[in-house]
Amino acid sequence: MAETLHRQLGMTDDEFTAVNGILERPPADPELAMYSVMWSEHCSYKSSRVHLGGLPTDAPWVVVGPGENAGVVDIGDGWLAALRIESHNHPSFVEPYQGAATGVGGILRDIFTMGARPVGLWNQIRFGDLSDPHNRYLFNGVVAGIAGYGNAVGVPTLGGEVEFDPVYAGNPLVNVMCLGVLQEEQLVLGTAGPPGTVAVLLGAATGRDGIGGASVLASASFDEAAGAKRPSVQVGDPFEEKKLIEACLDLYDRRLVVGVQDLGAAGLSCAASEPAARAGVGMDLNLDAVHLREPDMTAPEMLMSESQERMMAFVAPDQVEEVLAVAARWEIEASVVGTVAGGDRLRVYHNGQQVVDVPAASLTDEAPILRRPIARPDWMDELWKRTDRQADVPIDVALLGLLDDPALGDRSWVYEQFDHMLFLNTVHGPGRDGSLIRVRGTSKGLAVSTDGNGRVCQLDPRRGAERLVYEAALNVAVVGARPLAVVDNLNFGNPEKPEVMWQFTEVLAGLGAACEALGVPIVGGNVSFYNETDGQDIYPTPVVGLLGMAEPIPSLPEPVTGGMSMLLIGPEQTDNLAGSAYQRVVRGALGGRPTRVDADQGGRTIEFAIRLTHVIHGAVLHDISQGGALMAAVELLIAGGVGAHAEFRSVEQAFGEDPHRFLCLVPANRKPEVEQLALEVGCRIEDIGMTGGSDLTIAGPETINIPLERLRDVWANAISARMHGAVHE
């Protein structure tokens, strides 16, 4: 029976043999349950781990690097910032509202586990084309789930990106990043502490949530008749999480915990074994003390349950009473479920019987490491050669097409559903290049940008990944912040395909090189494989979340009005449109090899943007990304409600997306100051036009005139018109 059981739990025969070797006997069912979840791809990173070692993770300001629940960096004056990003792709496809909601809940716990108060959320979401009602249903559900959970839990959602491409139709991507702020002495780690330390389970009751695999165990061992599929949908409860946040922060303030571990994937299995492994100790866990939502749960079910809104606190024995009192004050449940033991064994008891006895560290440290085959896809050369030169449409037709694209048009339909003002610190919220929040009690501002671009990475995963890091860095630079740390969320297809592993290693090489060049450490990450449908893999879609700091917070940009010079800063756009929004929307194609990052020019551009915001008060800066310089200009004009006269000599000049370039608008009489500064930093600067009037006039191969009103109407309806009335399938 056990032979087939491990396969049903998703373990290979080799892994099962390894467990037998570790235990020197066949595992009991609850033990097999623990190994199966802890050694899963999701928990063990078995396909990726061997490749992650080469990334730059050190800098003098890194307090906690990869491996803990979140990365932590020192932002000076006794303050720290904690950051983490994670995916919830598959759950969001099964049940978009709950999948996205529980994704938000999970990332928040990673942050307040570290002792930090979560201060902002960012989301990166990708769907198939909105012309398909099922994609509208998924998009609507995911946005509502993020809103429903994030708003109610009381953490503002400050930015993100949304993209649409048929490649995500069967496999939407939902990545959420969270930032927390704490004072130095509040830092808490996921360690179990010395023998005698008591494990207290806080928060929601444990039910049969997310244990699709465990149901196999339950039915095989205890319920022969059970043909019913156990639910694997987890339901989020932001109310419980809000109470849990306040209770945990209160516990930290009172210095009542030795360590804390949140319960996410692998639930109690992970919360018992990881902190013990980190502390080099053993643990006795008593399942009879766990507060349950359903009374008749089996030991494997309890060990694998992914019920949300739970935390494990490790507490000195003489402080347990006080911890229970704090939990009661915040109206959450708490159970004393275990004790840290000497030695290295994790022992679990159920119905008074010992049901698990394994080396705690074997669940984490001895997880298999796979060296999967890697092969460059034979279609790469073909893709690079593919030229899509064809008769281009007039520039105004192209521009209106781009403005009408839901990934490029007005995204307020999304972000106005998110509370982005709570805590009264939002200097720049969603809809901007980078978000910026003030850290009250200091003169500092923290900026975050999250960026992804699956199409560019499909064409060249290494160059694509490099470009993402530089784009994110420029996005925080244009709000005045200097890059400080990166977290990455690596979304890929099936790692059993050598081509996918090649994309993965190329992306890591690109991320590593760019972060190294910019001197920005990677302090955490998440890998999501198996994003495929019917054998079709998604584009390699790494997402970069970059934290920067502005000190002081620069003065606010002036409103865009008439009489402003439009200055384009950065290297001259090449003839390369590979991977651009123009190629996708206007030409309906994907091909060519994207322009690569120029580390010297990229670094100068970022430096120049930071200097500009702090020196030229009121200057308006805007990163050039999807849709190119013309799109960036039009977004500024729409925001200001003013027209312009601008020159774009070619389609490439207008819509090319070469990296590290931005626009700067200043009153015409201040243009010499910007030019002087550009000279000092060594940046190229080009005057492309002047704001004014109520039309956009584009001088180029032919002169084109469009009323700004028309541009704004098309832009404003890009998402809202498509989603009108879309509430359910």
Partner: protein, 230 residues
């Protein structure tokens, strides 16, 4: 003079309201919903958030919290009682203000600035404003759609366009007669859906929230403990 700010489990704007009132010169103290007394406090604010997760109906569970008896007593004494967003919903559920708040017309959460026209200055919320004044103050709610009870409410703020016209197009959530804020007959108990504390500093959507919070503080100063009837 001290203002009590009530925190229910799930409330999340209590610190924002405290920050805003204190930056305008008031003294505040946060009061947990399990407490049963507001003795020694001169006024009370029920701030925004999701008390009890907004489960069942917004405010339906919160209105039974022990602190609510003390809020009712304070209101009966004629002292200033202000509900913002979720606090407004709780005051309606508790019967301290008439009507109810239901889901927005478009069934979407709305977080964006709204234009409001001051309809009356006879309330703790608007006494420092002028009639017809247009304020820009952020909304942040899913259930912000006001439905009046049998009697016409004392409307103090209505949604309007930037020029002060109350129109259907300027009504963000479907509220009856564009109502954004109301008061009881005496003007001592008031509630509104928009968040004045989110409009007090230069980097915010506006600084128009100040005039409403200053009205409230002025009302507290004008109604010191022991002087009010009750």
């Amino acid at each position: 003079m001290t203002v009590g700010i009530v925190a229910f489990p799930g409330t999340n704007c209590e610190q924002d309201v405290a920050y805003a009132l204190e930056s305008l010169g008031a003294k505040t103290v946060t009061v947990w919903h399990r407490e049963s007394s507001l003795d020694g406090l001169d006024a009370v604010v029920l701030p925004g958030g999701f008390a009890h997760g907004d489960y069942l109906r917004t405010g339906a569970i919160a209105r039974f919290s022990p602190i609510m008896a003390a809020v009712e007593k304070l209101a009966a004494e004629g002292r200033p009682v202000l509900g913002i967003c979720n606090g407004f919903q709780i005051l309606c559920e508790a019967g301290l203000l008439p009507g109810a708040l239901i889901a927005n017309r478009d069934l979407k959460f709305i977080c964006r600035p709204a234009h409001l026209r001051v309809e009356s200055t006879d309330s703790i919320l608007t006494r420092a404003a002028t009639i017809g004044q247009v304020l820009t103050i952020p909304l942040n709610s899913y259930e912000g759609n006001y439905v009046p009870g049998p009697e016409a409410p004392n409307a103090v703020l209505r949604y309007c366009d930037p020029d002060g016209n109350v129109t259907e197009a300027a009504n963000p959530n479907g509220s009856a007669e564009g109502i954004a804020g109301i008061a009881n007959g005496a003007g001592t108990v008031a509630g509104l859906m928009p968040h004045p504390e989110r409009a007090i500093e230069d980097f915010m959507a506006s600084t128009d929230g100040r005039v409403l919070l200053e009205s409230f503080i002025a009302s507290v100063e004008a109604t010191p403990a022991g002087v009010a009837s009750g």
